[in-house]
Symmetry: C2
Subunit: 378 residues, 2 copies
């Protein structure tokens, strides 16, 4: 194997692929990165067996030459050293060569690295997904869907299915739902007409977080295909493959109250600032609990009390309060997590009494829902 490649292209690809590589893996060769040279371009592969990422660098693209002098072949390099070496090479031109003894030479300017490689034959084959049945989504919309739901997955392994985000695609409507059983985040979006339908596919939250980091905010399309146990996200030069969690995702639609007794309309930023301040004293002792009480005349009071430290109270003017008077306590962390991803200037908060879950949603957009269970304080 031999080729000459542009350093900056290589750095970007290496950085993407590294997101799948873990130094703690049961399969030693997965601590390495696979490099495969074909006449049309170079493919880098990393995997921790849950997530696999392939990044492709075409030899030529839009009249630019990325890779030259290609002799086909493949090798696995230790991912502990290779990324730092690439990043610190002195020149744009980088020559990479592997000989029959798996010895790899990396040359750039007057610097020359010799690394011991591993046989690419020993690297596990990634499952080939049939991609006829796929649907598409703009990258920035996919990133929003992930950000607005993935924070609500459970971090506890006691119910593994809740560590994932539940995807469903029925009648050209795609929904993402996550819950840790104390809160729930859900959003539904229309997709372009597709034959693909699935009721429930649960993708590990960790996979979606890594995917979100790799994808640039753009309107380019991501092609998504699903099999029984894998989901593939494909962009122009990237294949991101994740395993799907086994098990049945709980039915969540009944959790969402259908009527409300008190409805607030409030500026998102104001509510975030108030809750954030109230939570300062609630951090440890009180498990982040703050209390919201409606007062007269479009004013709510946000308070928190930690006997050891002190207490805090703040009157917040809201856009409107409708319905019954209310005093309710909840986790400030859950509230802040939800408000920070909503990405709208104003939100509605629908309460159904101090003991019932409440809902935060954008005004006039029922397709996004943040649900939080209150905390009993007496």
């Amino acid at each position: 194997m031999k080729f000459t490649i542009q350093r900056d292209q290589l750095i970007d690809s290496v950085q993407d692929v590294m997101k799948a590589i873990s130094s703690r893996t049961a399969i030693p060769i997965l601590t390495g990165m696979k490099i495969e040279a074909k006449s049309h371009g170079i493919t880098l592969t990393g995997s921790d067996s849950d997530i696999s990422i392939e990044s492709y660098i075409p030899a030529e693209e839009e009249g630019m030459v990325n890779v030259e002098n290609i002799e086909e072949g493949s090798i696995v390099l230790h991912a502990k050293y290779f990324p730092d070496i690439v990043r610190k090479l002195p020149e744009q031109h980088v020559e990479i060569e592997a000989d029959e003894n798996l010895s790899v030479t990396i040359r750039s300017g007057k610097a020359e690295f010799h690394l011991n490689g591993q046989d690419a034959e020993e690297y596990p084959q990634l499952p080939k997904l049939q991609t006829d049945d796929s649907f598409e989504l703009p990258t920035d919309l996919l990133k929003s869907l992930i950000k607005q739901t993935v924070f609500a997955v459970s971090s506890m392994e006691t119910r593994p299915i809740l560590t994932g985000v539940n995807l469903s695609l029925v009648d050209n409507k795609l929904s993402f739902t996550a819950t840790d059983s104390h809160r729930l985040a859900s959003r539904e979006v229309p997709v372009n007409s597709t034959k693909v339908q699935f009721e429930s596919i649960v993708v590990p939250g960790k996979s979606l977080n890594e995917l979100n980091k790799i994808l640039d905010d753009s309107e380019e399309m991501v092609e998504i295909s699903v099999t029984n146990n894998q989901i593939l996200f494909r962009t122009k030069h990237l294949n991101f493959l994740s395993r799907i969690l086994d098990g049945n995702y709980p039915e969540t639609s009944r959790l969402i109250p259908e009527q409300s007794k008190t409805v607030l309309q409030v500026k998102t930023k104001d509510l975030i600032s108030s809750i954030d301040r109230a939570s300062l004293l609630a951090r440890e002792e009180r498990n982040n609990v703050v209390k919201l009480s409606t007062l007269d005349q479009n004013i709510v009071e946000i308070t928190s009390n930690s006997p050891e430290v002190g207490h805090v109270s703040e009157e917040l003017t809201v856009q409107s309060i409708e319905g019954e008077e209310l005093k309710i306590s909840f986790s400030s962390k859950y509230m802040l997590d939800a408000l920070k991803v909503m990405d709208v200037d104003e939100v509605m908060v629908d309460f159904t009494g101090a003991m019932r879950p409440f809902i935060i949603r954008p005004i006039n957009d029922p397709a996004m829902i943040q649900l939080i269970l209150p905390v009993r304080t007496y």
Copy 2:
């Protein structure tokens, strides 16, 4: 105690004073921050008994009003909550009030915090230094002196005296010296005429690091005064007091070779890049050791070899090589630490053979010296 203060001034002062406050201290009240209101201004104090910092906010300054409505008094507030509260207050105007029950109220806009304070009488008195005998140094020069030496202090408590930087002021020449017995960093600068003289004052490296963080790069003068066991750095609004280490600092001047057998002149940046690359493979296995060999014609070769991982070599063109041929091995970490603080485009490296300490210094400036002991590799 009661006053109204500008939030941004308060944030800056709190941030400075926090650098002295540790949550792990044998004296519980030192986990707090002392606030003292006098008619002319507010003083904040933090201390971990090694370092004490006082920050002063004058009521008025250059026609601007920082503090108003002052009722004199003092209180101690828990430093775990106070800084975050101040930072997140909604308005510029902040009212702070302590009552006779040590209950403190902080008001800003419609937010109101009530904190339990502690009696300021219980806060230890900081030693008063007599400041008649002092000398002055521009802030940016003091910061350079610290940065160029403090990294070389020992991190081992086996010889506590080496965890400090040795200061001496004789005949209006101030020198800073640090060594961990494997390397030494030293710089001497002239100071304005002063009566102050001392042979050796050892200031903890940790104190100087914190001082460097607090001081802004400016040409304003820092006033420095020394007693038997304390050193005080004083700027317009800041008193930074550190304890001095007990014990005799070793005589270091004899370590510095007086003649050299091989002299390199090289661009600092080129040498940093080459050593940095060579050290990539040397990180663990080989204790960061790299090898430098002179070749013909103004070329040196930098190499490193880690049998398990691979090896790296690079030819580096230098400005000049004079004297004997040389092959020498040394810690790349020590070399990079030294080169990165030199702040000059070109350096001289003076070798006296493969087994002797070598010196890195700016061209034409004998007042700054970085000395490194080589590593035996056979």
